[in-house]
Symmetry: C2
Subunit: 321 residues, 2 copies
């Protein structure tokens, strides 16, 4: 089997080789699948060395500006970074509301930065699956810090929070009760909430917003030994970018010392495996000649209350051999 | 097939017949399974007429006292009620920390009340599955209001919140930052938070606690069209029991008018069906002669980072035919 990738170049950090490898694992062609599997096996010993950081927030909150500011700060410290996007809109519209390189102008031109837009879905495991493999590929090619950017829409934050070590949520300063616009529920996933655009006249509002989230967070379930943090910042004025990074470093240090860092990754991998198995089983079930005909009808009977879920499940499984 | 239950008596509200029917569906004997399935089919047309209310809270918060106070109030209004328990401790200890009839003295002696402790797990779908079927049985025998009581431990609240129409969480009055003892995360599931034991000297603390939760709830994801509510009460002094019930009635009325009530039940049923199918598929997989040997080893390799989850999943599925 002739390799469809150049392992040595990937490991050496060659960006063209890396981009080609990602295209291979994103490929939907059956003939590419075995190559992709082999590639993932070969890079595995070179992975697990980065810190993976999820960045989420509503459109307009300043994710790109923040990643550019933090990214440049990290490059100055000698780090190599990768920015990946998980974008729910791309498979639907064909376009992409993220991963837009022109929005991270300085960062995208830097030789120590690798930026990759969202993969399209439709393959096993969907967007999340490909993103997980892309993370591993970026790690193997020597990137120290991997940002996974996602927009606060639908199920994506949950998926992204399950593939990163640290999940950062950007928020807008908001006065009093005007918090209706934000994606509620997301603060439950966040390891830290950053109130961005805390500059000029917005500073007092940002501080009030922070205090509000701070007291809300106290009532939420802590993430293992880590208590969620809040902070204000201004990506535009590069204010509090360094303290934000120090917070993440503290998290990494602390959770590596207690072992929760490694436990979380092991747990994520295990869950990822079973999720894939479940998906493959589902596929088997839903493409089974008899069941394919049967399940939509039975599901409808359950929805209409004409059949108990228990009896419906047993009826479907009776066909499965 | 001779029926192992008396359908007519169940539908007429005979409590002995109902208790026997529940024992049948809880049975782990293979020979009982077909009877149980048939029973569930037969009662189905008589279900769906009650409102299902989950009641959760830490031990000591006063769940039994609250259910007794609210239950007696409802009986006085002519309602027939059932109290079921989902108790995570029973399969482990053999005993039960809930469903203790003596703790609801007046209620348990009333002819319009049916109380059933937690089923033991170990069967398909576990405790949750049996509880769902018990709910349907209680509905078919004419109970208007079904309380599903659970203690705030582990995964149970999530399971219970997925089988009821309204999820009520009882809380203790707590001053300032002393909220460490409560099960965090549970407020995200609650349709309403009731600060119980708001009596005597605790009233001002209860009110402060309520205000705290009220502002926290504003930051959480609303449950469809319903915005979570907070309230203080004293089950002991029977204070705010009626307003609490009126809140649930408002919820029922509102969500029936908008249709979210029925949509939620249809969705719960659909999810229940697929969860059962998934469980049966899992069982098939894990009892498969080759896979049974293989998966623990492969799972360990994934946990240790020696194999990618993707490749592990494909390897396991290759055995499955």
């Amino acid at each position: 089997m002739k390799a469809m990738y150049n392992l040595e170049q990937i490991l050496n950090g060659n960006r063209v080789a890396l981009a080609k490898a990602i295209t291979l694992i994103e490929s939907k062609k059956d003939s590419d699948r075995l190559h992709a599997q082999r590639l993932m096996e070969e890079i595995l010993p070179y992975t697990n060395k980065s810190i993976r950081i999820g960045i989420s927030g509503s459109p307009g909150v300043g994710k790109s500006t923040f990643i550019e500011a933090l990214g440049l700060h990290l490059i100055n410290k000698g780090k190599k970074i990768a920015v990946l996007a998980v974008d729910p809109s791309s498979p639907i519209t064909g376009g992409s509301i993220m991963g837009d390189k022109t929005r991270m102008e300085k960062l995208s031109r830097h030789p120590k930065v690798f930026i990759r837009p969202s993969p399209s879905s439709g393959t096993l495991g969907g967007v999340a699956q490909k993103s997980r493999e892309t993370i591993l590929l970026c790690e193997s090619s020597g990137h120290d810090i991997i940002f996974v950017e996602t927009v606060g829409v639908g199920q994506n934050e949950i998926e992204v929070s399950n593939m990163v070590d640290f999940f950062l949520v950007l928020m807008l300063p908001n006065a009093g009760d005007e918090l209706q616009g934000i994606k509620k529920g997301i603060i439950e996933l966040a390891d830290a909430l950053l109130i961005n655009k805390s500059d000029g006249e917005s500073i007092p509002i940002a501080q009030r917003t922070q205090a509000q989230y701070e007291s809300a967070i106290k009532l939420l379930k802590p993430h293992g030994s880590w208590t969620q943090k809040t902070m204000t910042c201004s990506a535009l004025e590069k204010k509090n970018i360094e303290p934000a990074w120090e917070m993440i470093e503290t998290f990494e240090e602390l959770s590596k010392k207690t072992g929760t860092f490694y436990n979380k990754r092991a747990k994520q991998n295990k869950e990822w495996m079973w999720a894939l198995i479940r998906e493959l089983m589902d596929l088997k079930l839903k493409t089974h000649p008899e069941i394919k005909q049967l399940w939509p009808k039975i599901e409808n009977e359950v929805v209409r209350g004409e059949k108990t879920p228990q009896n419906a499940a047993l009826e479907i499984m009776k066909q499965f051999s």
